[in-house]
Structures are given as structure tokens and as C-alpha cells.
Symmetry: C2
Subunit: 191 residues, 2 copies
């Protein structure tokens, strides 16, 4: 029977006690996304490190459904650029997403096709509404994992290709030991 | 400009540090919903007590949007039946809802038009997926507030009338100092 279900997000890790799918993204998945390509290639040659993980639940990809799960971005940097997710637009551009930060610290970096951008701080207890049309990427600027609960419409879909091609307008880098949001000098060119 | 936004849910109360609308439901809003009508009328005559509150954000009521906010059910009983929300079906029946429990203990009592029912335990760290077609009501069985974060599709709408007319199939009552889920003897009749 198709019944409502619960899952537990327990301290200290917030890994759900049940899930349908576990995605693991390593450095390989991020080729071309980090500004410092030499640092990227050196790291990859040493170890195809795990950057982030997603635990998700299977539901139909239909408009009235809500897809949901847990995102865990591990701490680290490629050069001076913090570990981050690939980031994406929704294929159905006019769909939004809700995030709730459970652990860690970082930013959600966002932008629209029209050229607006935003960076929202994430830390435990902070909820975020990513409006329809805004591409979004989680960036971990902390010493531990950045863990968020996410919810988005079942029909949203993921367009990773646009970001893979053009990157995000803004990068989050470490300057004098602190995160700083800077322009991406390569934005729009083939990454 | 229409930009992504964050809000903070801070311990110990989890009241958001910003919101667009604050709903307060007192006993008056629940006339006919509690089984023990004599206890209800006596309580109401003494004080039209605050039962629950909702903090919400204004977003367009459109399919790609997600409506979201915080629900706080206060502790207490009418007779031996715990304080609860009105409960509702979504007007667009094939829309779902995600809850994340931040504080307290209780149940989400749910049912479908076809006669299925379920009661999911809520306590901090528990996330719940209310499937499309399932009416839902939060019930606080604890000594303190029951606080949840909720997210549902922008076009879902609220059908309160069906539950006002027929009630829920199940009630949550105190028996020997503990919550118990029992049949609603008046289900389907005019409440």
C-alpha cells in the first residue's frame, strides 16, 4: 500500500535512517567547475575524493509530488575554492525549492538566466526559499559537513548542463582565512 | 526585486525571525471537532484558549511555488482528546506535503477519501511525507509545544470543510496517561 512515511534525521550526522537512493559525487564529477584547474588535477591525481552525497526518496516525477532528501557537502577546498555541489537550474524553470540547514556552515549561491545573483548564508536553523528560476549550488565554508534537508516539486527536473557550460557568476573562496564571494572570471565561457 | 530569502528558526521556540502572516486558532475555530462537547463548551465558556499558531510566507498560489511556514500546536486536552489542528484535505487532492518536526511530540493523523488511515509519530528530527490525497492533522501529545516546518505546493489549497463535516476516522486520546489512537464513533455524521 502506498502510505505516508517518516524518516529520522538524527544527530550528529543527520543521515536518514531510511532512503531509496544514495548519490556520491567525487572530484571527477566536478571537472571544469573549479577555477584553479591545476590544483584540481593535482588533487584528482592523488585521490578522487568524495565531495558530496545526497540521500533521496523515490516518488513519481509529477507536479503534486514533492521530491525530498538530504544533501551532505564535505569540508575541503580545491585551491582556495570551497567544496560545493554541481549546482543546477530546474528543467521546469518556474519551480522553486525549500532548504533547511541542519548542520555546518556555508552558502547557497544562486543566479537567474537574466543575470541576478544572490548568496544566502546557511547554518543550523536557517531555512531558505530558492525562488522559481534561480539556479542554486551549496558551498561548504566550514570545518565539518554542511547538511541540508531539501524539498522541490516532483516535476522540476535537473538541468546540470547549463551550469557545466557557463559556471556560476560568483565563486566562494577563502581569503585571509574567511569565505569571500568573488566574481567568476571565466563565467559564460566554456568552463 | 523578487529574490531568494532566508529565515531563522532558533531554539528554544523555533518562531521564525520573519514571516508574512501569523494565524492564531482558538477553541472557537474547533467547535464540533472534539468528541467531548460538554468539556469543549465548558472550556470555551471559561476562556477561548489559543490552540495553535501558524507562521507563513506569502508566495503566489501557483504550481511551481512552494508554500512554507511553521506550525505550533500548544499542549493541552479537551476532555481526554489532545489539542490538534483543524486538519484538511488539499483542494487539489493530488498534492502532497513535507513536514519536519523541530520540537515536541505528537502525531500526524491522516486519511484518504477511500478509507485508508495512518498516524505518524512526530518528534524532533523526524521528517514526514504526506502523500497526495491524504488529509492531515497535527496532534500534540506532549507537555510542551509541537513545532513543525511544513512545505506544500503553491496550488494545493485547503479544503477544511470536508473534515469539519465528517471529522477524522481516528482520534488521539489520553488513556492511562499515554496517547492512544482510537476510532472516532461520530465519524461521517455531522460533527
Amino acid at each position: 500500500m502506498d502510505t505516508p512515511y517518516t524518516f529520522d534525521l538524527n544527530n550528529p550526522d543527520f543521515i536518514p535512517d531510511r532512503y531509496d537512493n544514495h548519490i556520491r559525487r567525487t572530484l571527477t564529477a566536478m571537472r571544469g567547475q573549479y577555477l584553479d584547474t591545476a590544483a584540481f588535477e593535482a588533487m584528482l591525481a592523488a585521490d578522487d575524493q568524495l565531495l558530496y552525497e545526497v540521500y533521496e526518496f523515490h516518488r513519481p516525477h509529477e507536479p503534486g509530488e514533492l521530491l525530498h532528501g538530504i544533501s551532505i557537502v564535505h569540508p575541503g577546498k580545491v585551491g582556495d575554492e570551497y567544496f560545493m555541489t554541481k549546482g543546477h537550474f530546474h528543467t521546469v524553470l518556474d519551480t522553486s525549492e525549500v532548504y533547511y540547514c541542519l548542520k555546518g556552515e556555508g552558502y547557497m549561491v544562486m543566479e537567474t538566466p537574466e543575470g541576478d545573483w544572490a548568496a544566502a548564508e546557511l547554518r543550523p536553523g536557517k531555512a531558505l526559499y530558492v525562488l522559481p528560476r534561480w539556479a542554486h549550488r551549496s558551498v561548504n565554508t566550514g570545518a565539518g559537513d554542511l547538511v541540508t534537508l531539501f524539498v522541490y516539486p516532483g516535476n522540476a527536473g535537473h538541468d546540470y548542463g547549463t551550469i557545466e557550460q557557463q559556471g556560476f557568476r560568483k565563486l566562494v573562496v577563502e581569503r585571509d582565512g574567511r569565505p569571500e564571494i568573488v566574481d567568476n572570471p571565466r563565467w559564460g565561457s566554456k568552463q
